[in-house]
């Protein structure tokens, strides 16, 4: 402990050098850990929303946009499709499809999306009701846990929706029926936490320019009702399901996109960016190692006499070697810890930002095993950088030095 203390005293004796080394180390460690954490945070959050969905069907456009809007409720929808055109997929005894969940998007309340759907949605995401009851009747709303908390919604409360997915009060549907909260969902960690769920009919009513009674009164002769997206879970996986997306895309006005494929493409795009950032961070780590080496090595000349003095007072050459190695180690220890803290604070901040922007919540205080390895690598760097200066210290010739 005493010799560690002695090493530490020498480090704090040169505050400017200490700060430079710590900043470099914290920056590089923080960047690497930050990239690891951010990657983990995003993929973990996105993966949890896959919910076993095999196929997303919607209007033609960008497949990634369809996935992002239909599954993650991030992007705007590609357009609407007629309920008629997807009715075959919703047939109960379909040989390939186990579950098909229609979604109708377009309205929001204070920035939170109102999703017209049916009870199959609850089953698909494994949602349970915390308070109140199922939204059975048109204009009933089942609020996601986070929405309810953020907006302070309680069962029985009513509100007017806003047209569009942005929080724009000018577009409030003032003349239509208000929505009424009838239940609040348990937190699920999925996208459903950020949504306001309502029966499909509600959305049709709101957009039927005030003539809602006609819709609930009975189906019109020609069904012109539209939905936005159909989420599909397969019953089986075989060559038929494999070809299903292509069949839909080639032979109908619909577009089918596979979430797994689209998300992999997105990760690949993201990955290129994070890989580059990671490489940059390792380069900075290399520079900080070099900086430790240079500062230890250059201070060695000034400390020759002190080192010889320590030998005179009883320190062995090995003792001096250890003293310098410990300085590198302590620098790496402090810098590495600062870096890891920095990364978590940074990811927490960006999580807060994304939460505001996406209405998503993120777990930012998880510690990854990779961070442990990173920390060990940084420690090894510190010791490695101190190796040559330490060897020089070990070889200081006391006789020669003290004559000067």
């Amino acid at each position: 402990m005493y010799s560690l203390w002695l090493s530490w005293k020498h480090l704090v004796h040169k505050p400017s050098q200490l700060v430079l080394n710590l900043v470099l180390l914290a920056l590089s460690t923080g960047l690497i850990a930050g990239v690891l954490l951010f990657d983990q945070m995003i993929t973990d959050r996105l993966d949890r929303n896959l919910a076993g969905i095999d196929l997303v069907i919607g209007a033609k456009g960008s497949p990634l946009q369809l996935i992002l809007s239909g599954m993650y409720h991030l992007d705007t929808p590609t357009g609407n499709i007629s309920l008629e055109s997807v009715r075959p997929f919703m047939r109960p005894g379909h040989p390939l499809i186990q579950r098909a969940v229609p979604l109708s998007l377009g309205d929001s309340y204070q920035g939170y999306r109102i999703v017209g759907t049916d009870t199959a949605f609850l089953a698909m995401y494994g949602l349970t009701i915390g308070q109140g009851q199922l939204a059975d009747a048109p204009m009933d709303v089942l609020a996601g846990a986070n929405v309810a908390k953020a907006l302070g919604l309680v069962v029985g409360q009513t509100f007017q929706s806003v047209h569009g997915l942005d929080d724009n009060p000018d577009l409030t549907h003032e003349d239509s029926h208000p929505f009424r909260v009838v239940g609040i969902l348990e937190p699920s960690g999925t996208v459903a936490d950020q949504l306001l769920l309502t029966p499909l009919e509600s959305v049709w009513m709101v957009h039927d320019h005030g003539h809602a009674e006609e819709v609930t009164g009975g189906l019109p002769e020609q069904d012109q009702r539209q939905i936005t997206t159909l989420l599909i879970q397969y019953r089986v996986r075989n060559h038929l399901t494999l070809n299903l997306p292509r069949n839909i895309n080639e032979n109908t006005e619909l577009m089918a996109a596979s979430p797994a494929m689209e998300m992999n493409r997105l990760y690949a795009l993201m990955g290129a960016g994070t890989d580059l950032l990671g490489i940059l961070a390792w380069i900075i780590l290399g520079v900080s190692g070099l900086s430790i080496f240079v500062s230890l090595y250059s201070s060695l000349q000034a400390r020759r006499y002190e080192l010889a003095l320590m030998r005179v007072m009883g320190s062995s050459p090995g003792g001096l070697f250890r003293l310098i190695i410990q300085e590198g180690f302590l620098l790496a220890l402090a810098g590495g810890m600062l870096g890891i803290i920095l990364a978590h604070v940074g990811v927490w901040l960006s999580g807060q930002f994304l939460e505001d922007a996406w209405h998503y919540s993120f777990d930012t205080w998880v510690f990854l095993p990779a961070e442990g390895w990173l920390f060990l690598a940084v420690l090894a760097f510190g010791v490695l950088a101190a190796l040559i200066p330490a060897w020089q210290a070990r070889k200081v010739d006391i006789g020669e030095t003290l004559v000067d």
């Binding site: 320590m310 005179v312 007072m313 009883g314």
Partner: protein, 212 residues
């Protein structure tokens, strides 16, 4: 006590120097006088085990220096020998108290703060306890280095030109201090110098000749 016989040493590529035999008992004082170039500092380093002699031996408190295993030699020196240099040097990162405690630590002893304080008090330095050596005056630094050399009650106190840089008054003071403190610890005091002023103050003198 310290005893050296038939010591000789040569610098790499230089001529060999032979030294007269030396003996100094506990509580005794010995002055080794010599002009520059007579190998005074080298002799002191040989006595302290800081250099290896070509021939001859140094016996400290009954132990032959060359018999002490290399890994133990530094600690042996720390425990038995106190060294004082012409220009005092310290670990700049440590304050006065910590610098003296370091001498106890490195010699493998427990830190004895009471002794440190008592010794500094005796040398009139107690108020400098928490100061950093570079903020102390030259005279204070010299006294701190004496305190550091004495802290482990060494058998031998070796001083290399302790007075050369000082004016007459400080020269007398430092010499008096060395003699008094060495007597206090019953250390054998050896002063190596070219400073003729202290010649008459010390009972035994060996003069090194510029050699042949």
């Amino acid at each position: 006590m310290i005893e050296a016989s038939s010591l000789s040493f040569h610098y790499p590529g230089g001529a060999s120097i032979s030294f007269p035999d030396i003996r100094c008992d506990a509580g005794d004082q010995l002055l080794i006088l010599g002009e520059s170039g007579t190998g005074k500092s080298t002799l002191l380093q040989l006595l302290a085990g800081l250099r290896q002699p070509d021939t001859g031996s140094v016996r400290i408190h009954g132990t032959m220096l060359q018999d002490v295993p290399k890994v133990r030699r530094d600690q042996f020196r720390g425990q038995h020998i106190g060294l004082i240099f012409q220009t005092p040097h310290f670990l700049q990162a440590l304050n006065v108290e910590q610098n003296i405690a370091l001498a106890q630590r490195l010699a493998g002893k427990e830190v004895d703060l009471l002794r440190i304080h008592a010794l500094l008090d005796k040398l009139g330095l107690l108020h400098r306890l928490n100061a950093y050596p570079r903020h102390c005056s030259q005279g204070e630094q010299q006294r701190i280095s004496i305190a550091r050399a004495l802290i482990n009650r060494p058998d031998i106190l070796l001083a290399d030109e302790p007075t050369s840089a000082l004016d007459d008054r400080h020269c007398r003071e430092v010499l008096h201090l060395l003699q008094e403190q060495a007597a206090d610890c019953r250390s054998a005091l050896i002063i190596v110098t070219h400073d003729q002023r202290i010649k008459d103050q010390i009972p035994h003198t060996i003069t090194l000749e510029r050699h042949v």
